[in-house]
Amino acid sequence: MKRRSIGALALAAALLISAVAVSAGSSSPDRQHATKVVIWLQNDAENGWKDMVTSTNDAFKAKHSGVDVDVQYQGWGDHLTKFDAALAGGTAPDVVEFGNTETTRYMAAKLLQDLTTQTKSFPNSSTWLGALKSSCTYKGRLFCVPYYAGARAVIYRKDQYKAAGVKSTPKSLAQFVTAGQKLMKKYGKQRNYSALYFPGQYWYAGLSFVYDYGGKIAEFKNGKWKGTLDSPQALQGLNQVKKVVKALSRANKTTDEANPQQALVFSKGRVGAFIGNGWEWPYALDKKLGNPSLAKKIGAYPMPSHTAGKFMPTFLGGSDLAVPVTSKNKSLAYDWIRIFTSSAQMRTLATVGKQIPNTTTLASLNAKNPQLAAFANASKFSWFVPTAPNWVKVENARVLKNLFQAIITGRKSVAQAAKDASNQITKILNQPVT
């Protein structure tokens, strides 16, 4: 009995091996072997525009029969650690989404597939948003495909503003604070009510104050980076953040805007306004997690500058899609990206996801939609992180989160916190690129 079954097993194994050998010998190994394309997207897509992912997958599967698509959603906090580990383990995905501040290091390390020669095969490649395209370009070569851009604006409760006697949306930072104080007066007795929900580590919003006063994170001079968050202008901005947050926010001082998701906190009613991305508006109305009954009560306006009539510069965030060099299904991966970033899908991203699509040809979509106009307007004045290969290490070392947490909790003086952060940034950006 035993001997016979071993014989059968051996025969089966031999058949299997020869079958594999035959298929390996056929012309296109890419297609024969690829049963699954693994895609890593950030959970913004899951929360904001999941339908776009589903319809892309359907279209992709219709075109490539027998190929499965596995979309795995990642969180911003640890997706790079996971990606590095996957690279080392040889299990990296075929398509991976990067934040536009994260790409430089991976391009410099030659871990992303060079797409320069086939740039034209991607939809709208001649009209890609300049800011995103440059985040995909390293030493003149293209390593990723722009996905979307996002600008932040103040998302607020129109009904609460009205009830508190705020007649029009603030046109200057001073007016913004006055409006907030009115809200605090009206609703502040509720425990944990915030006129402006501003968690202590929210550096994207915090640095807008720095740039509004003319400060910046770092500058490149004589071949060396230098952190400049301790400049007089930057300090003015940081002091202003501290004042505004102290007066208007009762948010947790030791968490960021995504833990818990600020849009969901907003939807629970004890928040007058928060500084958020376009997609966070519909997310606050989510049937399961948010509160759909607020639909008519929400509005948005660009965060006003300390100079009356101007807007505060907003962080021009965004995402790109890349194919790691380790992918065994590169041509399939490219094709998935092509479908995902087609004009039709980008239209969905703009209208449903409330994001700025990757091509300027769709820009008019945003300007016409009242729900998107505030974000489109805000994006006209923007700031971006230093484009240094080591920049992502500054983010990974949490330098800026620590800076704002230290300032807002009062653990360090503004000057001391700024000096510490600045020194750290100088040190990290000048490290040899590894």
Binding site: G77, L87, L111, T254, T326, N396, A397, N402, T434
Partner: protein, 327 residues
């Protein structure tokens, strides 16, 4: 089937009692060689497993600590040998010394608290009635069985600044300043919470082990001391403690080893992104290696950590042994 032991002919020592013929062979020359070798043969499987799962990774870690190994090397899988550069960088990094000192203080505090509370609970156990004792032991075992992830989440909820039961209770008791207290805003209170989680999880093992050891303390000695008018504390100091010294030594050194490398509690309590103020050695090593992609540097920190722990345990053990000898 009855001859099954014959299958272990390679280990005559094991089957020696089975048959007289084997016993005779043991007296021969070949038998004595076998006898000399058999302990090693018996140990070999375990040794091989230990070397495979512990020794080899340790070798890789040490080699990595002498290499420049970054993102690009993840793909090429080949680091560049740079000698002791990573180590000089570690020792020049002032952050390293801060973290090392913090880890030492953290270890001393957590081990101290664990041992004190563990001993007190063990002494309590030995004086309790059967029912209450069983109740307390079941409680301890439950704590022991709670996974770290669950424990940390429970504590995080309890100290949550907005909805936490701790702030709520304190505010109800009249301490209004605790209404929106963020325990993690200040590393001192933050570490108090983390220490509580670690000590809470470590107490059951210590308490139950010491309680078991207490049964070794001769009742006559204690009785005699009581008749002589010794106080509780004197009895503990002069009778119980010396008898239990070996157990204390083992428990404390185990606790040092565990608490020196605490990682999960810090990592989870700070939402997978601990601030610099919360870095212990293990966290520091992990962040350098896996968050900043400095795998070689992170490995060097890990190796230094192994030696630091070795040193701490050694010094402590020597002191304890000396203390035992002078008695």
């Amino acid at each position: 089937m009855s001859q099954a032991p014959g299958g272990e002919a390679g280990f005559p020592a094991m089957t020696a009692t089975a048959a007289g013929s084997v016993r005779r062979r043991r007296r021969s020359l070949g038998g004595s060689v076998f006898r000399a070798l058999s302990p090693y043969l018996l140990l070999a499987p375990a040794a091989i497993v230990v070397i495979a799962v512990l020794g080899y990774p340790l070798y890789l870690l040490t080699r990595l600590s002498f290499e420049q190994f970054g993102l690009a090397e993840l793909i090429t899988r080949k680091g560049n040998w740079i000698g002791a550069d990573n180590y000089t960088r570690v020792f020049r990094d002032h952050q390293f010394w801060t973290v090392l000192l913090r880890t030492f203080v953290f270890t001393v505090v957590t081990v101290g608290l664990t041992m004190i509370f563990g001993t007190l609970i063990a002494l309590l156990l030995s004086r309790l009635g059967r029912f209450v004792r069983l109740l307390l032991i079941s409680g301890l075992v439950l704590v022991w069985a709670t996974p770290v992830l669950v424990a940390v989440n429970i504590f995080r909820w309890m100290v949550d600044y907005e909805f936490g039961v701790l702030n709520w209770t304190l505010a109800k008791l009249g301490f209004d300043s605790f209404l929106n207290k963020d325990w993690f805003a200040n590393p001192t209170t933050g570490f108090a919470v983390i220490t509580a989680i670690v000590v809470w999880g470590a107490i059951p093992f210590v308490a139950i082990t010491i309680y078991a050891g207490l049964s070794q303390v001769p009742a006559e000695l204690v009785e005699a001391a009581e008749i002589d008018g010794a106080r509780r504390w004197q009895i503990f100091k002069d009778i119980t403690f010396p008898v239990l010294l070996p157990i204390f030594v083992i428990l404390t050194s185990l606790s040092i080893i565990w608490d020196f490398q605490v990682f999960n509690q810090v990592w989870l309590a700070r939402g997978s992104e601990p601030e610099e103020d919360y870095w212990l050695m293990s966290v520091y090593s992990f962040i350098e290696a896996f968050k900043l992609g400095e795998y070689g540097f992170g490995a060097a920190i890990a190796v230094v950590m192994v030696f630091a722990m070795f040193f701490a345990t050694f010094v402590y053990l020597r002191q304890m042994v000396q203390m035992g000898e002078t008695r």
